[in-house]
Amino acid sequence: MLPNVGFIGLGVMGRPMALNLIKGGYRLRVYGRRKEAMAPLVEAGAVACGSPEEAARECDVIFTMVTTTRDVQEVVLGERGVIAGARPGAIVIDMGTISPTATRAIAARLAEAGIEALDAPVSGGGIGAISGTLSIMVGGKPEIFERVRPLFACMGKKIVHVGPNGAGQVAKACNQVVMLATLQGLAEAFTFARKTGLDSQRVYESLSGGAAQCRILEVLGKRMVERNYAPGIEARLHYKDIQIVLDEAHTLGMALPGTALVTQMFNALIGRGGGNEDSSQLVEVVEAMSKPLQ
C-alpha cells in the first residue's frame, strides 16, 4: 500500500511538487499558510489541513517546502508543528534550502521523538518543479532514503544521496556557490560584450556551443540578453541562500572569496530595489559600475 503523505508549504515550488505527488498516485494532506494556496491541491484530491500538526497526523512521510531556516523550525518544531502530529517512525523531509547546522539540530530533535529526518533541497527552479525534473540532494540515513526514493522520483530526475543529515544542505550550498559565481561571470561577459559594441544575442549564441556552455547561460544568460527580469528565481531567494553559505564559511573558518564578492553584488541589487525580480538582473548592477550616475 502506498504511504500517506503530508505536504507543507505550497508556494512557487511546493505547489507543483505536491501536484506531482498526487499525479504519482499518493494521497496527500496539505497545509499552506495562505488558505487560497491550498485550493488547487484540494481540487486535485488533497485534504486541506488547519496546521502542520494536522497535516502530519496519520502520515508516513511529511514534506516541508517553506522559505527560511526559521520557517522550517516553526512548521516542524513550533506550536502546532509537525513534531506534535507525526507518529514515531514517520519520516520528515525538508526540501527547502536552509542552514546545514540548523538542519542537523532539527534532525536531532525529531530523533528524540522517534521521528526520522531527511534534508533534500532541490535545484531546478519553478520550471523543474512543474516538469518533475528537479535535482534532489539528500542527507540522512541511507535506509530511510531508499524507503522514500519512489516519492522523490515523482518530483525529480537526478536524485543523489549525499551523506548523513545536513549533507544535502551542504551539497545545495555547493550548488549555489557554483551557480552564483557562474552568474557573475555571465554578467561580466555580457557587460564586456556590450561595452565593446557587440550584439549580446550573438555572443550568447557563440558561447552556447563551447566550454562556457551551461544551464545558467541557457536560462539566466538568455534573460540577460533580453533584459527580461520577470522571475524565474527571485533575487531575494538567492540572497537568502548565499547568506547561509557565508555563515557556514565564517563558522568553519574557510575562505570563499568569489562567493563573498557575488554576495556584495547581490547586496547592491537588493539595495536598488530588485529583490523581487530575477537574479539575472545582476548584469545591470555590473553595468552600473562602469557608467556615470544618472
Binding site: H250, A255, I270
Partner: protein, 293 residues
C-alpha cells in the same frame, strides 16, 4: 563634585583604560570576569566589585569594555547586570564594538529605565589605550556626550561626537573598513616584495614617506616584518567585527566588495588555528595563497 565611575571589562584594552581613569583622579569601581584581572586595579586604588550590577550601583557613569555583542548584552541586561544596578539619571558608555542596530536597541532599553547611553567605540590598540591616546567615536545625545567628555579625555586624544545613538558604531565600522583594507594592502605588498626577492623592510621604509604611509603600515606592517603576531588585536575579533559590518551592509542592501574579500581572508586565518594571533597575521594567508608547489 567628583564623579563616581564604574568600569566593566579589564582585558587588553580595558585594563590600561581603567588605570588612566584612576590617574585622572576618578573614584573607580571595577568588575572583570576573571578575578585576577581586577588585582592590578585594586592595587592602584580601585574598588573591586562582584558583579556589573554592584559596579553600576556605585557609579554615576559606567564604562563597558568587553569583547563582543554577547558579552555587552550579558553585562548590561543579564542577571546581576548594569541595568539592575544603575539608577535613573546614570549614564552607561559602551566602548566595545557592536553593530549600530544593537547599540540603538540597547540605548532604547536603558532609556526606558531612565538611564542614558553613549556608544563610544575606540580606534587604537593597547599602546594607545595605555598612553591615553585612543580615538573615540561617540553616538548619543549631545548633552550626554558633554557630560561624559571630560572623562573620555583621560582615555583618548581625538574624541568626536558623530551624531545620535548608533552613529559612533557606524563611524567605527567605517574606521574598520579603512583599517582592514589597508591591512590587506600592506599584507599583499609585503608578500609580493618578499616573493620577488625584495627585502620588505626596505619597502616599508620607502613607503612610510609617501602616499602609502599610514598607521597600519607603521604598526601592523612592523609586526608582519618581525613575524611578531602576539596580540594586539586578535584575528578572531577582527573577523567578528567584519561579520557585523557585512551584516549591516546586507541589511541595508549596500555592496562592500573589498571588505567582503578581506573577511574571507580573516575566515581562513581563524580556520587555520590562528584566530588568537594579532590580525596582522593576515599576511600569512596571502603568503600561503602564493606558496610554491
Amino acid at each position: 563634585m567628583s564623579v563616581n565611575v564604574g568600569f566593566i571589562g579589564l582585558g587588553i584594552m580595558g585594563k590600561p583604560m581603567a588605570l588612566n581613569l584612576i590617574k585622572g583622579g576618578y573614584p573607580l569601581w571595577v568588575y572583570g570576569r576573571r578575578v585576577e584581572s581586577m588585582a592590578p586595579l585594586a592595587a592602584a586604588g580601585a574598588r573591586v566589585c562582584a558583579s556589573p550590577e554592584e559596579a553600576a550601583r556605585a557609579a554615576d557613569i559606567t564604562f563597558i569594555m568587553v569583547s563582543d555583542t554577547r558579552e555587552v548584552e550579558q553585562v548590561i541586561l543579564g542577571p546581576n547586570g548594569v541595568l539592575a544596578g544603575a539608577r535613573p539619571g546614570a549614564a552607561v558608555v559602551v566602548m566595545s564594538t557592536v553593530s549600530p542596530e544593537f547599540a540603538r536597541t540597547l540605548a532604547d532599553k536603558l532609556s526606558a529605565q531612565g538611564i542614558e547611553m553613549l556608544d563610544a567605540p575606540v580606534s587604537g590598540g593597547e599602546p594607545e589605550a595605555a598612553s591615553g591616546a585612543l580615538t573615540i567615536m561617540a553616538g548619543g545625545k549631545p548633552e550626554v556626550f558633554e557630560r561624559v567628555k571630560p572623562i573620555l579625555e583621560t582615555l583618548g586624544k581625538n574624541i568626536v561626537h558623530v551624531g545620535p545613538g548608533g552613529t559612533g558604531q557606524l563611524a567605527k565600522a567605517c574606521n574598520q573598513i579603512v583599517v582592514t583594507l589597508a591591512l590587506e594592502g600592506v599584507a599583499e605588498a609585503f608578500a609580493f616584495a618578499r616573493k620577488n626577492g625584495v627585502n620588505p623592510l626596505r619597502v616599508r621604509d620607502a613607503l612610510l614617506g609617501g602616499f602609502a604611509g599610514s598607521t597600519v603600515l607603521e604598526v601592523q606592517g612592523k609586526r608582519m616584518l618581525e613575524r611578531d603576531f602576539r596580540p594586539g588585536f586578535k584575528a578572531r575579533l577582527h573577523q567578528e567585527e567584519l561579520r557585523l559590518i557585512l551584516e549591516t551592509a546586507h541589511r541595508v542592501g549596500f555592496a562592500l566588495p573589498g571588505s567582503a574579500l578581506a573577511a574571507q581572508h580573516m575566515n581562513a586565518l581563524g580556520g587555520s588555528g590562528e584566530g588568537e594571533l594579532d590580525s596582522s597575521a593576515l599576511v600569512q594567508v596571502i603568503e600561503r595563497l602564493n606558496e610554491s608547489k
